[in-house]
Symmetry: C2
Subunit: 425 residues, 2 copies
């Protein structure tokens, strides 16, 4: 027997499917008009959203969330105005739906066009700030997809208020009913029901930590595009420009340590390890970076009196710290660096620093990661930095979307074939 | 505790992952040399393969398989020579791996290339003829993927012998060990274990009927690209050239009824139904087509004394007959035809026959199927007919690959970024 929750989730799915059919045939102009209506409503309904947000903040304080987490949760007039501005920017981007990817004519005269279309209904599960509710919804609407959102429980009231504002503002400007829906419960079973609902959900995108990803992966019947962790590496080659290597390593670790494209492990070729660490250690120390080092690096850093030094353990090499903490290993060769990343990495973003073009090309070719860098910081793995205009996140999966996932990755395609009565002989 | 079977399957997965790493860095020339070695071995080892095939045939006869099924199972010197020739043709196709899909430079000077790469390890589960063992394996090798094959139980000995020949012939020409592996058991649990093995398997492609698809979908932890059924439609519009409509409908139903792109349901606009059925009925009758008709069509076909006439039931509209049987319905409008396909169809291949360009473009735009036709037979949904050179099958899924799946669809991509020391500010 179905639980009440399951019936509720299924009904949300059914409505989303209906909305998706209506959305799929809207013109770019109609979708953009709806987006502008959504931006307007978000500003107009700011008092409702801020009141809902105040409830979430009060709840979070009651539950003893730390100050940083509460800050991430907090909305303001200014934050809502920025979200609205983000919507207007997406309205201004070009619409991938209807784009002809490629076309050709066969010897028998049939003309084949491969054309971008919406995916249908997209489910997005996230644990982060309430602005994701708006960001994710508008990218789906822009690409003609109905969206079912499931946010973090600590921001439930804010998320509901934002989704209600978006749907109301959109509906007033031609958006189909139920194009934007939010799962209105903290019940964790809701995720399981979403993941089972393949008759209504064409794609599910979980953005978050291990437990969320595992729940989705173990239950999902539909395609999943995971936005999971980044154990990213910088490899300082024997032929590296060591000044550049320090600059990039420090940027990759310290510029914003709490994100998935930040470096977690630094690999250094044995021949240059001494000189490199002499240059790098003072900068890492000044930034307050704790280093978990393998024996060779530990010895060198000890000699340099590095202040925040630990011995690396086996699990250090697969840890995503998301903090000013670094695993550091001395390797004997380019091959050893690639083998280390293959074994411990998460295939997200990995960089080589070298002046040796042959070594660089080998690293680029043989490293099986979504984004592979030569002489640049891993921090560029980002839809905005790629020039995509907007991103739904960074896919850590290989199929359909890999790496930064923009508007195009929220579409699929179909083949249109125009003939003059051709039959198959 | 792991069963012995699970340990065995996991070991196959581990070996495949190892092989995939070695395969990914082979050049096109190296892969082609291996493919030619595989073709050679298939011919050289024909006696072994045919002996294994004789065991399967004997088993099938013992189990009382029908003659058609036994014929599909049967190999011969000639059939093996054709399979070898197919391998040589694939060797001659251009290699998608390494192709630059797109590239651009950002204002900060980093150069981004989106480059095709192998997926890694691909699992293919099929129920069809033993030649699929060779066809599927070579497309994976061509694209640098290791492959784990799981064929139908009735052709197990043939499949093993073919896989052994391919691996031996490949290894003698530089193919990594275990690039081609076959699950050597009839145990159905093997499919479940494969579907759970996401640490080793990057993609699983089930080709087959409902029970196989359901087993994979309900257990899979990795991406699945289903090759499922085709409930394909031809819609004869009010503005159709009726001679063309008859020709296409008969081709779509009768030219090869046992395949997924054959028409299963014919929709006819009420205004032309009388005239169309008068022209079509004699041809369908001559071909021996049983028709399951809705009341309006039933009445007209009765008046024409159609010999093989049945009343359609609700389940007729979602049935894939794969036989000389047709569901037939009279509809009031283009919208009604689209709504019918949306409700009952499988979104595989659907056609409109009309002289009305506006109606055709609306049908092409609003029908959410992998391949949508205007004035051509649904039978063209095929990698060969599309000019892909080879196909692994027809995806009935929407993500990553939709419709005919050729070499490109057996690849993914990564981003290569070349910089000069850029860091993120």
């Amino acid at each position: 027997m179905q639980s009440e929750l399951e019936i509720q989730i299924t009904e949300i799915g059914r409505r989303a499917r209906q909305a998706a059919r209506a959305l799929a045939v809207l013109s770019t102009e109609q979708k953009n008009a709806a987006l502008l209506g959504m931006a307007e409503a978000l500003v107009a309904r700011a008092p409702d959203v801020l009141a809902a947000n105040a409830r979430d903040i009060a709840g979070a304080e009651e539950h003893g969330l730390n100050k940083a987490a509460i800050d991430r949760l907090r909305l303001s007039e200014k934050r809502l105005a920025e979200m609205a501005e983000g919507i207007r920017q997406v309205a201004g981007l070009s619409d991938p739906v209807g784009q002809v990817i490629t076309q050709w004519t066969r010897p028998n005269g049939i003309a084949i066009s491969k054309v971008r279309t919406p995916i249908g209904v997209v489910g997005i599960i996230y644990e982060s700030r309430p602005n994701v509710t708006s960001d994710a919804a508008i990218l789906c609407i822009k690409t003609g997809n109905a969206v079912i959102l499931r946010g973090g429980s600590e921001s439930l009231h804010s998320n509901i208020a934002i989704a209600v504002a978006l749907q109301a503002g959109g509906s007033a400007h031609g958006l189909p009913e139920n194009a934007v829906q939010l799962i209105p419960t903290k019940d964790r079973e809701a995720v399981r029901h979403m993941a089972q609902m393949d008759q209504y959900l064409d794609l599910i995108v979980p953005r978050g930590g291990h437990s969320l990803i595992e729940t989705v992966v173990s239950h999902a019947r539909m395609p999943v595009i995971k936005h999971y962790h980044g154990v990213c590496h910088v490899y300082v080659d024997r032929a590296a420009d060591l000044e550049m290597a320090v600059r990039i390593a420090v940027n990759a670790k310290c510029q914003r340590p709490g994100v998935c494209n930040a470096m977690e492990t630094l690999l250094v070729h044995r021949e240059v390890a001494g000189e490199f660490l002499q240059k790098a250690a003072p900068v890492f120390a000044e930034k307050g970076v704790s280093i978990h080092a393998d024996p060779a690096a530990f010895q060198q850093l000890s000699a340099l009196n590095y202040p925040l030094l630990h011995e690396a353990r086996e699990e250090s090499w697969s840890t995503e710290y998301l903090d000013l903490i670094l695993s550091l290993k001395v390797v004997d060769s380019l091959e050893a660096a690639i083998a280390h990343m293959e074994h411990y990495g998460s295939h997200h973003s990995d960089a080589i620093i070298t002046r040796d073009a042959a070594a660089a090309e080998r690293f680029l070719n043989e490293t099986d990661s979504a984004t592979v860098y030569w002489n640049a910081s891993t921090r560029f793995t980002d839809g905005g930095e790629f020039g995509f205009g907007a991103e739904i996140g960074i896919s850590t999966d290989k199929l359909h979307a890999r790496g930064p996932m923009g508007l195009e990755e929220l579409t699929t395609y179909k083949y249109l074939i125009r003939g003059e009565g051709q039959i198959r002989e």
